[in-house]
């Protein structure tokens, strides 16, 4: 990536794309290097006194705070729970840090706290520690949340992008881009007459259903910032293989397509908050699909593509006209503050 031309942080650095990646690597990775951090991935996989655990953290700066299908509280729980789940861990405990802006409405805060409680219960996790701060008016946009989470690693936790093999099947548990479409509509004041909601949901139960069906995923990732394309690019970049994805197999709601056509966006690059991309060996694909479809958060699961030996390092989308489009992770994203 071209070296940053400026010494100040831009909004693009928070997009989750290449700019973010390079910033984290150049500023933090270079100074904090250790085998766990350098291994990448959203969750750190650790051994502590004989127990194998996953540990992760996320901050939540979404605007608007409340949106169809959820709010910042629900997001804060799901975001961290899902990072643990896709790492192949059973999510157990969360911390919760809250930074409030002076003047913030208490009723709204309680509504958000209710969300956190409900979502944590649904996700079967306990919020066991936390912290609350208040900053002067004008120094914080309403409320920012941070959650950190700990979970117990399953024995058959996924290996990561490098363990994908040609022939492996790529699955997703439902339609792409719902959350991103809802946020951008809310921010732009676009009326969604269809009742489209964010797909924000805790996925611990869905992943458990996969394992219970005897599936051992090679790779799992939740496509938040950067969308499905971001995860596919990570898959291809991480290994010595390529990724093929089929446009006609990609589930996308009509309402999301409509928002995308209006604003010139691509559902592949929109954020999701209740989705997981799963890569499984071909002989497990049928069982995996059945397990996903049998769970409330996976009824519209679909096989969207495959790992291939062709075009290593590249993601190629087979378009509905039979063309082949190269999909790259964009350098930055036009949509700030999605999650």
């Amino acid at each position: 990536m071209a070296e940053s031309r400026s010494r100040t942080i831009s909004l693009g650095h928070g997009s989750g794309g290449l700019l973010t990646h390079d910033l984290v690597h150049e500023v933090f990775g270079a100074r904090l290097a250790n085998p766990v951090l350098d291994g990448g991935g959203d969750s750190a996989l650790l051994e502590v006194g004989g127990a194998r655990i996953a540990f992760t953290t996320d901050s939540f700066v979404v605007s608007p705070l409340v949106f169809p299908g959820g709010d910042i509280g629900k997001l804060a729980v799901c975001g961290t729970v899902n990072d643990l789940a896709v790492a192949g861990a059973v999510p157990r405990f969360l911390s919760l840090a809250v930074v409030l802006e002076e003047g913030f409405d208490r009723d709204l805060l309680e509504r958000i706290a209710d969300s956190i409680a409900h979502t944590a219960a649904a996700a079967e996790v306990l919020v066991v520690t936390g912290d609350t701060k208040v900053v002067e008016k004008g120094k914080g946009d309403g409320v920012y949340l941070n959650t950190a989470g700990v979970g117990l690693l399953r024995p058959a936790a996924p290996g990561g992008a490098a363990s994908a093999r040609p022939g492996d099947v790529v699955l997703v548990n439902g339609p792409c881009g719902d959350h991103g479409a809802v946020i951008v509509s809310a921010r732009s004041g676009i009326e969604l007459s269809s009742g489209l909601q964010s797909d924000c949901a805790p996925l611990g139960g869905l992943v458990a259903a996969l394992y219970d069906a005897g599936v051992t995923p090679r790779f799992m990732r939740d496509p938040t910032r950067g969308g499905t394309a971001g995860v596919l690019a990570e898959l291809a970049r991480g290994g010595a293989c390529g990724v093929e994805v089929d446009e006609t197999s990609l589930p996308v709601r009509d309402e999301v397509r409509g928002v995308c056509e209006l604003l010139g966006m691509d559902p592949l690059f929109l954020a999701n908050e209740g989705k997981v991309i799963v890569v499984v060996p071909p002989e497990q694909a049928a069982a995996a699909l059945a397990a996903l479809r049998g769970h409330p958060h996976g009824t519209a699961a679909a096989a969207i593509g495959a790992i291939t030996a062709a075009h290593p390092g590249q993601v190629v989308l087979r378009t509905r006209y039979g063309g082949q489009r190269l999909i790259d992770m964009p350098v930055s994203d036009p949509l700030p503050r999605i999650c």
């Binding site: 990536m1 071209a2 056509e261 209006l262 010139g264 039979g322 489009r325 790259d328």
Partner: protein
């Protein structure tokens, strides 16, 4: 005395050695000539007058396809050679020779092709030292049969005899062949199974007459051919190729047939019959023999004349297809042109009804070139077969550079000293096979030019696939240059000028230095330094890329900046492809300053006006709306412009910003007052011309520069090119316009390469 001559230039594959043989023999000289990687070495021995006569005749009498760049002569010791011979080719340390581009069938071969007494009568692979395949069949240098795809064919005694006989046109003609020993034609069905036919050409013609779509193997790849007169057939081809409205090229038998189809000037006729045989964009005649489906809604049609013996046979007077043929690159929607028989059978499955194939392999893909005549000169639109790999001479040299070009209409450029080798048309890199083609061409050019680049240079756009390719070349020093700066440098480079200039860089999109998209630029360029003297106001792109596909959205943006958004309801009926609710939502988003990406690209302003005038609201290929606007304009140099505002960006400072708001309002009022779209389109063009001339004059006043270089795809608009050039020239400017190299992004790599050499010099 004995003298050695080292000759450099295009001196291989052009009948140079036979010419030298004949000249030396005629003058009674002994000695030899041989090919090597750096060119040709000649040694002649005899009396002084004869040797001098030889030296004097070398350039003027050289064969038509050769191009002598340099001759170095030195007297050497006598060797007692009385006879002259062509010696075997040798290896040489440095490769500096140039490869001939592919050449259309010459008149002599064409006569033999149709002569029943000739042993090559109706042989589709006839060629000689003056014509035939070159670049597309050469694997490596020096140019010898074993290094070409003709190595699979051993000459029969008759052909070998011609090859050895200095009196024939096949003396040392590497692709020499005949029906007994050379490549063969075969006809296959839609599934690629052989169709036995005594005369495959006649069988192919019969199928074309019956309305079939035929895949025909040519020089740089396959074509898809069909009857250009039958709308149903052409529509079917469009459906199978997923090609909605982008024009198809048409091939006809001769100039007379062209004249029935289109208006042809003398300059256009010369271009059509040139050895490069490009597609030439001509003004279509209403009621001509080709149907509208060939180029829907377009007043121009791309026409070419036959350039391989097979084309001549397919369109022959006796027994050939009687009318115009669509002759378009065979590729499934925008992928690189198909090259091999096997590849054709699977990639064109479901597209071609039959395949006319042969067994002379094509090594290098090359689409047909496309040119038009504008401002009195032929100008490249797509530089490819017939021109590649002839280099462009740069104003300066340096280490070998690889320039990776742009994203659309990509070409790459490799330099060697002062020679810049632009590749053939590669295409749109978002397409995965096209991105792979770029790497294929880069590797091939490096091999045949024996070049190891030390530097790679790319556009500033971070998401271009070409940029990503450049970033992977971590073995090379990396440089980047702004898009419009590169366009201006390309024009200077082409004209061999190294001097500060005013650059008018006008296109649809190019990444700017301030994270907006540029494209309506008046720049001051001094080598690697570039300053933005003036530019068009950046308009929001409602829906990002969707606004490029749907020009009605740009019209909305223009209405917004003109404060005329209330006109939407009145204009909606002009936009059959705009959904009312979507349009209203976008209008509201614009009013609320939704952060859409912004572009000062002049191409976008053209799109907006095209939609405002109800001329084009949907673009199914790049530049369609702008082209339609140009064609719709009832142009007359005396047409009055609309008012337009020039706003200093910072009080009293540069850059100037051209604000089209007042122009948009005046245009709408003009329409209300009864002006036709044709008239309004003409006045819009007049406004743009007047604006750019004024900006050039102001910039000259500030800088004292009178040299102007033009660049960017908008200069393919002939009204703008001709009128701006004429007015600036009349006002004392010296105007350079792209000709040898496309003004569009197909020429970008040349500018990038020149930038690199300037940076390193």
């Amino acid at each position: 005395m004995r003298r050695r001559f080292e000759v450099a230039g295009i001196v291989q594959g052009v009948g140079f050695r036979p010419f030298v043989y004949r000249l030396a023999t005629r003058l009674g000289l002994g000695g030899h000539v041989f090919n090597h990687e750096a060119g040709v070495t000649i040694e002649v021995e005899g009396d002084a007058a004869a040797v001098d006569a030889f030296a004097a005749a070398l350039r003027p009498e050289a064969p038509p396809l050769s191009r002598i760049d340099e001759v170095r002569a030195v007297d050497v010791a006598d060797a007692g050679e009385r006879a002259f011979r062509i010696a075997p080719s040798a290896a040489h340390a440095r490769a500096a020779t140039l490869i001939s581009p592919d050449v259309a069938v010459c008149d002599d071969c064409r006569r033999e092709l149709f002569d029943p007494a000739d042993r090559r009568h109706r042989y589709p692979f006839i060629n000689c030292v003056n014509c035939g395949p070159r670049y597309t069949i050469i694997a490596d240098l020096p140019y010898d049969r074993p290094k070409t795809t003709m190595r699979a064919f051993t000459m029969c005694p008759a052909c070998q005899a011609e090859y050895d006989d200095p009196r024939t046109r096949r003396f040392h003609a590497q692709p020499n062949a005949c029906p007994a020993c050379g490549p063969r034609l075969a006809l296959e069905d839609a599934a690629g199974r052989p169709l036995p036919a005594a005369d495959p050409v006649a069988a192919a013609v019969a199928r074309l007459v019956a309305g079939a779509i035929l895949a025909v193997k040519g020089l740089g790849g396959f074509h898809l051919a069909c009857d250009a007169a039958l709308a149903a057939v052409v529509a079917e081809l469009r459906r199978r190729k997923h090609r909605d409205e982008k024009p198809f090229a048409v091939m006809v038998r001769d100039l007379e047939a062209v004249a029935a189809l289109a208006a042809v000037s003398d300059a256009e006729a010369r271009l059509l019959t040139s050895p490069e045989r490009p597609i030439v964009l001509l003004a279509r005649r209403a009621g001509g023999p080709s149907c509208d489906e060939v180029a829907p809604g377009n007043r121009r049609v791309g026409v070419m004349l036959p350039y391989t013996p097979l084309h001549h046979l397919l369109l022959a007077d006796a027994g050939g297809f009687p009318g115009p043929l669509v002759m378009t690159s065979a590729n499934p929607s925008d992928e690189p042109i198909v090259r091999d028989n096997d590849e054709a059978r699977w990639r064109l499955r479901g597209i071609a009804d039959a395949f006319l194939v042969h067994d002379r392999d094509i090594l290098v893909r090359a689409d047909d070139s496309v040119l038009h005549v504008a401002a009195g000169m032929p100008r490249q639109v797509r530089r490819s077969r017939g021109f590649v790999p002839v280099p462009v001479r740069l104003p300066r040299g340096g280490p070998p550079v690889l320039a990776v070009g742009g994203e659309l209409k990509n070409t790459i450029c490799l330099t060697r000293g002062r020679d810049a080798f632009l590749s053939q048309h590669i295409g749109d890199l978002e397409n995965a096979p096209t991105a792979a083609f770029l790497e294929e061409i880069a590797a091939h050019l490096q091999r045949v030019l024996d070049l190891r680049p030390e530097v790679v240079v790319h556009d500033l756009h971070p998401d271009y696939h070409a940029t990503r390719y450049a970033l992977h070349r971590t073995d090379l020093t990396r440089l980047a240059v702004q898009h419009h700066h590169a366009h201006v440098l390309a024009c200077l480079a082409e004209h061999g000028r190294e001097a500060p200039c005013i650059g008018l860089a006008l296109d649809g999109t190019g990444y700017g230095l301030d994270d907006t998209i540029w494209g309506g630029e008046v720049l001051v360029v001094d080598g690697t330094a570039m300053q933005r003297a003036a530019h068009f106001r950046a308009l929001p792109l409602p829906g990002g890329e969707q606004a490029i596909r749907e020009p009605w959205r740009m019209a909305l943006a223009l209405l917004h900046v003109a404060g005329a958004a209330d006109r939407l309801e009145q204009l909606l009926p002009r936009w059959p492809h705009a959904e009312a609710r979507t349009a209203r939502t976008l209008r509201d988003l614009l009013a609320r300053a939704h952060p859409f990406p912004r572009s000062s690209g002049l191409g976008r302003l053209f799109d907006a006006v095209a939609a405002l005038l109800g001329i084009r609201d949907l673009a199914t290929f790049e530049g369609q709306a702008a082209m339609a606007l140009e064609q719709a304009a009832a142009w007359d140099p005396a047409v009055p412009p609309y008012p337009i505002d020039l706003v200093p960006a910072a009080p009293g400072g540069t850059p100037l910003v051209v604000d089209p708001a007042a122009m948009a309002r005046a245009l709408l009022d003009d329409l209300d007052a009864g002006a036709t779209p044709a008239r309004a389109a003409a006045r819009f063009h007049a406004t743009i011309v007047a604006t750019l001339v004024t900006l050039a004059q102001r910039t000259r006043a500030d800088t004292s520069l009178r040299l102007v270089a033009l660049g960017g795809g908008v200069f393919q608009n002939r009204i703008l090119l001709e009128t701006i050039s004429a007015r600036l020239t009349a006002d004392g400017f010296e105007v350079l316009a792209p000709a040898q190299v496309p003004a569009n992004d197909g020429g970008l790599a040349l500018g990038q390469a020149y930038f690199a050499l300037l940076s390193l010099g």
